[in-house]
Structures are given as structure tokens and as C-alpha cells.
């Protein structure tokens, strides 16, 4: 056995045997060989011996803390495979030339899949967590659902990889938020935490005890920066209650104008608040009923000044350019006054009757627009219904507003079924060209009448010979929102039709392709949902 150390051999090899001969015993063990060969012989023995003698070493750092348990049931097998597919498809390149082909767009189905899985309360398969976190990293819109689904193990994993740091910010269930009853912990995080952590903490405490949250907020209020005060105030919007009124009332005298007006806005969403009452008093002096001309009409006397009291209640004195001062003030008063004021003020009429009244001196649009904002702010379905009017009325001549954005806000105040019925009626009367925004606020899956209205309208557009991509927005929505049970009914539309006279060339084929994709996507969604309930997809016969 040689006593030569490995280091000796390395030194000789580095310098070269001409310059530094290997140790004599190395040469002695290889009689008749020259120095390099003897050195290599010895090195080979050493190398094999070293490799054969490798041993594990104790780890230098402690083992990771185990991830918290996730009590949710695991996904059924088929759903797990499906999720793998959806996650793998997320980077799929679009078809060449912008044509989407007949294949469903898996990317668009992932949000729906996640929502359904969360609704079923399933636990994410551990092996897919990295792909899930990557998807959340790439798409902000997926984050809340992806993180809910990823659960405690997802957060545990995200802590190990800086790429997934986003998961640790404002994750549902909190990352390191103290228990809301842990007064010291809450106090410490409130004083030392990052802003996002503090907002999350405030939300958690509010959920538990609204008064404690108000106290917490008040404790540092005067030292917060104006931007932060505004953000904190804004976070009160969710779950706003009368318990918040005293605090908001205080904030009406804030140094910052934005804070003041946000506080006023929040108070006006509480129709029984003191601010709402003050606004009601002001608004009723401006709007009245005139019976002199036989038929009743509404008279408007816009405010002549914006006094200190109004300003304290959040009325902005300076109008944006192009708007008159007095109408600007009137609008703010009317949108902040509780809607319940008007039936009593205007002769016991219902919202519909009030909206139908003529308004003197061209104030109608101003007044209706303010009521629209009030209906949305106060979530008043009766007023929203009245202001929307019947869906068949052309938007330009209806009550309320002709703006689609405002109308979709009004729609979102209505119950799901009524909302869908209204949009269905609108599409039946006016076609699809203006329906996109309105469809966006309808609940998924679409109700049968709404789905039928959309499909009928698409069919009509096809018969009219236009190209399907003029409707690609609605088509995409339909893929995601139509009831999957409609797939069979749509099958007939996938046939390539004869080209009608005057149609755009090739349109029939493109429509067939678009409908094929619609049917394929609906089938896929049906399969997806069935898999999540653990039911096998319908059998062959």
C-alpha cells in the first residue's frame, strides 16, 4: 500500500513530472514504467478508491420545517391530469396569422378551472405546485385563485424560491399575519410592517372586530402619509358598515382633499349616515316637483354656491374644464343623497315614475347621471332597474345613461337572473355590436335565455355574411361563459354553410371553424367540471 498522498500526486501532475518527480514509492510500484505512467497508475488507484469510499456528510444547515397540513381532499385523478394539461398549455403560442383554429384556448380555461376547484374545496396536487406558482407569477389575474388553490404548501414552497416572492404578498389567509386577537402581535406589525402587510392586517382585524380596526387605524392616523391614509380609507370600502361612520366622519376634516372626498363618498354609500342626511337636505332644496302645467315635471334649481359645509362634506368646488360650476355641484349633491329621499320628495312616486318625469330646463341628463352613480354606490336595485329602463329601448333614447360602462355598472347591482334576462333582451333587440361590456358583468355560466340570445345573434351575424373575427370578443366570452350543456345544440352550426349571395369570401369556413372551437371548448369545460366532481365523463353509449 502506498503512503503517497493524493495532494502529492496532484502537485506532481500540475507541475509536470519533468519538474517534480513523483514520490519514489510511486515509481517503485510501477517497475519498468516512466514517471508519467507511474503517476497515472497511482492516480487511477486513488481516484477509484476515493470514489468507492464516498460517504454522506451531515447537512450543514437544518432541515426545512415541514409544510403545514392541508386538510382539503385531493383532486380526483382525471382532474389532476387535466390541471397538468392546462398548466402546460399556458405558454402555447397562438396559431399562425392570428387565426385561432378550432382548438380550445387552454389559457382561458385555467381561471375557470381554478375557480371551480376552489369552489369544490380541493387541495392542489403537490407535484403541480411549481407550475401553478409559475402561472401565478406570469399572470396577475390568476394569482388570487392560484394561491387559494395552492394553499399552505404553496406558500411554504414560495418561501424557498425568490421567483415566487409574489405569493408572500397579500396572500389569502395571510402569510405571517398575527392572529387578530393577539394584541401585541397586531400592534407590532401595525407599527413595523410594510404597507401591504399593514393593509392586510387591517383587513384581518376588521373581519374579526370592526371597532378594534377603527381604533387601530385611529391610533396612528395623524402620522400616516397622505397617500397611505387614502389607501387605508379605500380598503374600508369592502365590508363598509355603520361602525365605520364615526371614523369616516372624523376623516372629513382631514388635511388631504383626496382623503376628505373619499371619506365623503364612503359615507354617502351609507344612506342613513349623518352625511347622507345633510346631503339629502341640500339636494331637496335643489330638486322639486312642478305641477303647474297640468302634467307633473321636475324642476331643478342648482346650488348657487359651494359653501364651507358642502366642501367639508366632500363636494369639490372646482369643476373639471368644460363643465359649469353649478351643474357640477348639483351632480355631487344628487349622487351623494340617499335615493330613498326622492319618492317622498316627488309625490310618492316609484323610481320608474320618477325617472319617466320630464325635467325642466335641460337638467335631465345631469340629474339622471347623478342618480345612476347613486344607485351603483348605494347598491339600489330598484333604482338601477328604473334607470336602465326596458332593454329593448335604444340606449340613446332610454333613461339614465347611454354609456355602456355606466349601464354595466347599473346591471351589476341587479340580481344575477334579472341581469342575464336584461342583457338577453338587449342583445335580441340590438344585436351584439354593443353587448360585450354588458356580457362581461353577467354570471357564469350564462343562463339559458342569455346563451340562446348570444348564439342566435351570432347565427344572424353569420347569415349576414360578416366575418367571425368582428365578433371575436363575444365569441371568446361565449367559449368561457356559455353553459357547457349547450354544446349539442350548437353542433349544427359547425357545418360549413353554402356561401350566400354577397357574403364575404370564405366567411362560411371561418364561421364553421369558430363554432367548432366553441363546441370543443364547451365540451372541454363540461369534461373539466365533471372531473372535478369525481364523476367520470359520460360513457360511450
Amino acid at each position: 500500500m502506498t503512503t503517497t498522498t493524493w495532494e502529492d500526486l496532484v502537485t506532481s501532475a500540475l507541475l509536470g513530472t519533468d519538474r517534480r518527480a513523483p514520490a519514489p514509492e510511486v515509481l517503485a510500484r510501477a517497475p519498468g514504467k516512466d514517471a508519467p505512467a507511474a503517476l497515472l497508475d497511482a492516480a487511477a488507484v486513488h481516484t477509484v478508491r476515493r470514489r468507492a469510499g464516498l460517504l454522506p456528510a451531515p447537512p450543514a444547515s437544518p432541515l426545512p420545517e415541514p409544510a403545514p397540513d392541508d386538510e382539503r381532499p385531493p383532486l380526483p385523478e382525471a382532474a389532476r391530469l387535466r390541471l397538468g394539461q392546462l398548466l402546460a398549455g399556458r405558454s402555447g403560442a397562438p396559431a399562425a396569422g392570428g387565426r385561432r383554429g378550432t382548438a380550445p384556448d387552454l389559457t382561458e380555461l385555467l381561471p375557470q378551472w381554478l375557480a371551480a376547484a376552489n369552489a369544490h374545496g380541493h387541495r392542489a396536487p403537490a407535484s403541480l405546485l411549481p407550475a401553478l406558482l409559475d402561472a401565478g407569477r406570469a399572470r396577475t389575474d390568476l394569482r388570487p385563485a392560484a394561491l387559494t388553490f395552492a394553499g399552505p404548501r404553496g406558500l411554504w414552497l414560495a418561501r424557498l424560491n425568490p421567483d415566487w416572492r409574489f405569493a408572500l404578498r397579500g396572500a389569502p389567509g395571510g402569510t405571517s399575519l398575527p392572529d387578530p386577537t393577539d394584541r401585541d402581535g397586531v400592534r407590532r406589525l401595525w407599527e413595523e410592517g410594510l404597507f401591504a402587510e399593514r393593509v392586510a392586517l387591517l383587513g384581518a382585524v376588521r373581519e374579526h372586530d370592526a371597532a378594534a380596526a377603527a381604533t387601530l387605524l385611529a391610533s396612528t392616523w395623524s402620522t400616516e402619509r397622505a397617500e397611505d391614509r387614502l389607501m387605508f380609507l379605500d380598503s374600508l370600502r369592502t365590508g363598509l358598515t355603520y361602525a365605520d361612520e364615526p371614523f369616516l366622519e372624523e376623516a372629513l376634516s382631514d388635511r388631504s382633499r383626496n382623503v376628505r372626498s373619499t371619506a365623503a363618498e364612503l359615507l354617502s354609500a351609507l344612506p342613513r349616515s349623518a352625511l347622507a342626511r345633510r346631503m339629502a337636505d341640500r339636494a331637496s332644496t335643489c330638486v322639486g316637483l312642478d305641477r303647474t302645467g297640468g302634467a307633473a315635471s321636475i324642476t331643478v334649481e342648482a346650488p348657487h354656491e359651494c359653501d364651507a359645509g358642502m366642501q367639508r362634506d366632500g363636494v369639490l368646488p372646482d369643476p373639471p374644464s368644460g363643465r359649469g360650476q353649478r351643474s357640477w355641484w348639483l351632480g355631487q349633491l344628487a349622487e351623494s343623497a340617499p335615493l330613498a329621499l326622492w319618492p317622498s320628495r316627488l309625490g310618492g312616486r316609484t323610481p320608474e315614475e320618477i325617472v319617466a318625469l320630464p325635467v325642466a330646463d335641460g337638467w335631465r341628463d345631469e340629474l339622471h347621471a347623478a342618480w345612476c352613480r347613486a344607485a351603483v354606490r348605494q347598491q339600489d336595485a330598484a333604482w338601477a332597474r328604473a334607470l336602465l329602463g326596458p332593454p329593448t329601448t335604444p340606449p340613446a333614447t332610454g333613461p339614465g345613461t347611454s354609456s355602456l360602462a355606466e349601464r354595466s355598472k347599473l346591471l351589476s347591482v341587479l340580481p344575477d337572473g334579472e341581469r342575464a334576462a336584461w342583457v338577453a333582451g338587449f342583445i335580441a333587440a340590438h344585436g351584439l355590436s354593443e353587448a360585450f361590456q354588458l356580457l362581461g358583468v353577467c354570471a357564469v355560466p350564462w343562463t339559458e335565455p342569455l346563451g340562446r340570445a348570444v348564439v342566435d345573434a351570432l347565427d344572424i351575424a353569420r347569415d349576414a355574411g360578416s366575418y367571425p373575427w368582428s365578433f371575436s370578443g363575444v365569441m371568446g366570452l361565449a367559449e368561457r361563459c356559455l353553459d357547457p350543456g349547450q354544446a349539442d345544440r350548437l353542433e349544427v352550426l359547425t357545418a360549413v354553410p353554402d356561401e350566400p349571395e354577397g357574403a364575404s369570401p370564405g366567411a362560411g369556413g371561418y364561421w364553421s371553424e369558430a363554432f367548432q372551437r366553441l363546441v370543443a371548448t364547451l365540451r372541454l369545460r363540461a369534461a373539466m367540471l365533471a372531473e372535478l366532481t369525481g364523476a367520470s365523463t359520460p360513457g360511450p353509449r
Binding site: A13, L14, L15, L40, A52, P59, L63, Q85, P540
Partner: protein
């Protein structure tokens, strides 16, 4: 297992694609839209008609037990996008594959394949009985000539190594890669691809990070050992001689023992250098407890023909190559379609892994790594250092090889474990442990990490 036999995951299907473009094109065809007249049977056959741009739809049929593909499209890609699309549809339990009557065009091909398979021939490349040499004497002479050329190559390589050691490794950093490339080319000329490969690796070591002279000396020494072993191969005991012949690059037919078993597919992964893709598939025999390595090669643009999705098990014969400690084998006859696997193979502790590698080195000192299964290990991720696989008590740990770091599979491993013990199959060698597949007690899944 359902009526359609074992379906694969989309990932497993896409692993068959010869290139990225096929993968994308195949994905687009993996939906009901363009397909009609499709079906599948319980023995792993899937067929369908795919509407293309032309009038007549393409006839696509896949035998998933092969897998083997046939399609009437003119594509030279293999498998073509239609076959991939069909398999994806099948993997997704697609509606259009619910029919069950085999059409004639598919039935003929399937019947032909199965007849051949039953006759023990199969139709994989390289299958079939080896052709009898026309002239045994000429064959012997050719073998002798080749051996002589390899001997000349080995002697030349010895000279080159001696020169290197005489002048010192410190100079190797300066002498550059060209010299090694030239020597590698001479080894190719000498018909010793094994030596050529080693020489190329030697050329890549200088300047490859801290301690490169040590690694260079190790690899030079082992190359020297191989040269010496070849030059004295006549005097070596036969199993070791067979190993040496394989190591210098003399391929022998798989004429070792034939083992029929229920083989679990433990891992499948590809490595490639742009010109050639090498696919390694690790099998573990449930009954025999033996491990087998199947190799399959694909030239640029073609996926290696063999594809055995991880997590399945097949009743099949495996023919081993001869040689000491040889794990390399060829897949022989398969007796039934693959079925889902039942879980990880039996494994050992963290300490057992280097011990098994050490024992294997006795048979083949040129081994870089050895397949092992570790049970009850906890992956310890690290943001800046090497990852570790530690035993649950935290007493000992193996580093993960640098080559495996940066693979997304490592994060799958961490996620699967969640800080709790898991079972991991991989390759353990002198550079550390390369995890390839993992199992957790919480889920029946077999999770590939490659």
C-alpha cells in the same frame, strides 16, 4: 384503468414529439374539432381521421404499446403532428374516440404489427434476429483489424497523456481545446468512440471551475486505466474484458441473460448534443429486483423511437448486454399493454447510495453513477448552494449534482416532499445524486423530475 386501457398524460404524449414545432402543431390537433371516425380499443390501439387542408382526411393510427405510428399524411416528421394530436385527444379522454369498431385501414396495420410481435420480431429499429455473417472468417478478420486500430489509438492516447503529465496539467489550460479535439478525431479514426468521448470530456475540464486540475487528473488517470486495460484485455477475466470492450466503444449485441418480469418504468430522460439525442429509460423488475437501462437514440429532428412513460409497468422480456455489472439492456417481447405502476421500488438509506455506487465501481471502475432508490429522504432546497437529500433524522445527506440544479423537477421534488420524507429514484455518483423520480406517501402519483 378504464375501458380504453391506460391513458397517458399530455406531458407523456408531448415527450414523443421530435421537435418543438411538432409539439405545437400536435397540441393544436389534440381537440375534437378536426377528428372523426375515431376509436380506441382496450389493447392500446387508437385511431382516427383527421381533417387537413385537403379533401381526404388523413388516416392516423397509433399502437400505444409500441408506441408505433402510422399516418397517411406526407410529413416526414415522426411521429407526425396527427399522431401526436390523436394521442393528446386520447389522453384527454376525448369524445370522438368513443367508437369502438376498428376500421379496415387501421385494423390491417394493427393486425400486421401484432402478428409480427407475436412472431417475436417486433418492428423496432434494430429488432429481428441478427443476420448470420456471410463469411465467419472474413468477419473475424475484420474484428481483428478493428482491434488493431483501437490498440494503435490507445497507444497514441497513452503517449498524449504521458506528454501532458510530463509537461504538467497547469499548461493544459493554455494548450487550448483544439489539441483535444484533434486527439478525439484520431480516436474516431481508430474506431474507438468510447475513447473519443472521454477525450472530448478531458478537453472540457481545463478552466471549468475551481479544482479543475484535480478533476483533470482523475479523468486522465481513468482514461489511462482504460487504455492499459484495453492493451491487456486478453489477460482480463471475461466479464471485466467485456466491460472494457464496451467502454472503448466496441458495441456487442445484447446476448446476456434474458429476464422476463413486470418492469416498472422508473425514469426517462434525454440528453443531447445537437446532433444526437440519447434517451435513457430506467426499468426496475418487480420480481427479479433487477435494474435495467434502455438506451435509444434519435438523430437531429427525430425523437428516439423508444418511449415508455414513467409510472407505468410492463410485462416484458429484457435482454442484458454482457459485461461486468452491466445494466444496459434491450427491450424484448412485451406480453401485454402497460398498466399503471403500483408504487416505488424498495429502496435504501442515504448511506446505502454511495455504498452501492462504490460496490459497482469494483466491477466497472469507469462508472460515473449508479441507479439507486432512497426511501425516507427529505430534500433540502437551497437558494445559493447545492441542494441536499438528507435522511429524515438529519444525520447524513447527499448533495444534488450540479447538473440537476436548475431543473424545474427539483422544485417538484421540494413541493412533493413539503419538508417530509419521500422516496426518490436517481443516479448516485461521485458528483452527487441526480434525482429522477419521486413518490410521496400522500399521493399515488409517480412524479418525474426530469
Amino acid at each position: 384503468m378504464n375501458q380504453q386501457g391506460v391513458r397517458w398524460t399530455a406531458e407523456q404524449v408531448l415527450a414523443l414529439a421530435p421537435d418543438d414545432a411538432s409539439r405545437r402543431a400536435g397540441s393544436k390537433l389534440g381537440t375534437a374539432g378536426p377528428w372523426s371516425g375515431g376509436g380506441s380499443d382496450g389493447s392500446g390501439a387508437v385511431w382516427g381521421l383527421c381533417r387537413g387542408s385537403g379533401g381526404k382526411p388523413y388516416q392516423t393510427v397509433v399502437d400505444t404499446t409500441g408506441p408505433a405510428y402510422r399516418c397517411s399524411c406526407p410529413s416526414r416528421k415522426f411521429p407526425c403532428k396527427h399522431a401526436l394530436g390523436l394521442l393528446l385527444l386520447w389522453a384527454a379522454d376525448g369524445e370522438p374516440l368513443r367508437g369502438s369498431d376498428v376500421p379496415d385501414w387501421a385494423g390491417q396495420w394493427l393486425a400486421g404489427r401484432r402478428t409480427r410481435a407475436a412472431a417475436g420480431q417486433g418492428d423496432r429499429a434494430g429488432g429481428g434476429p441478427p443476420a448470420k455473417p456471410a463469411d465467419p472468417e472474413a468477419a473475424r478478420r475484420r474484428a481483428q483489424q478493428r482491434a488493431a486500430r483501437i490498440t494503435a489509438g490507445a497507444e497514441e492516447l497513452e503517449q498524449r497523456l504521458a506528454d501532458l503529465l510530463r509537461g504538467g496539467l497547469a499548461a493544459a489550460d493554455r494548450s487550448g481545446y483544439g489539441l483535444w479535439e484533434e486527439t478525439a478525431a484520431r480516436m474516431v479514426d481508430a474506431q474507438a468512440p468510447g475513447l473519443a468521448g472521454r477525450v472530448r470530456e478531458l478537453g472540457a475540464i481545463p478552466g471549468s471551475g475551481p479544482d479543475w486540475p484535480v478533476r483533470l487528473l482523475e479523468e486522465c488517470a481513468l482514461t489511462h486505466l482504460l487504455d492499459r486495460a484495453w492493451l491487456d484485455v486478453e489477460r482480463l477475466p471475461e466479464p471485466l474484458a467485456a466491460t472494457v470492450r464496451t467502454r472503448v466503444g466496441l458495441t456487442a449485441p445484447a446476448d446476456g441473460p434474458v429476464v422476463r418480469d413486470q418492469w416498472s418504468v422508473l425514469a426517462q430522460y434525454d440528453t443531447g448534443d445537437g446532433r444526437l439525442t440519447t434517451r435513457r429509460v430506467w426499468l426496475h423488475g418487480r420480481g427479479s429486483g433487477r435494474t435495467a437501462l434502455l438506451l435509444s437514440f434519435g438523430a437531429a429532428g427525430r425523437a428516439p423511437a423508444l418511449a415508455l412513460p414513467v409510472g407505468l409497468a410492463l410485462d416484458a422480456e429484457v435482454r442484458y448486454h454482457t459485461g461486468a455489472g452491466q445494466l444496459r439492456a434491450e427491450l424484448g417481447e412485451r406480453f401485454s399493454p402497460p398498466v399503471p405502476d403500483t408504487g416505488p421500488p424498495p429502496g435504501g438509506s442515504v448511506a446505502d447510495a454511495p455504498a452501492a455506487y462504490g460496490a459497482a465501481l469494483r466491477e466497472d471502475p469507469w462508472l460515473d453513477s449508479w441507479p439507486v432508490t432512497l426511501t425516507g429522504v427529505i430534500p433540502v432546497p437551497s437558494q445559493d448552494g447545492p441542494w441536499l437529500l438528507a435522511d429524515a433524522g438529519g444525520g447524513s445527506a447527499l448533495p444534488v449534482t450540479p447538473a440537476a440544479l436548475g431543473r424545474p423537477g427539483l422544485w417538484r421534488l421540494a413541493a412533493l416532499s413539503g419538508g417530509r420524507p419521500v422516496t426518490v429514484f436517481g443516479e448516485c455518483g461521485h458528483r452527487g445524486f441526480t434525482p429522477l423520480t419521486a413518490w410521496s406517501a400522500d399521493t399515488p402519483e409517480t412524479v418525474p423530475l426530469t
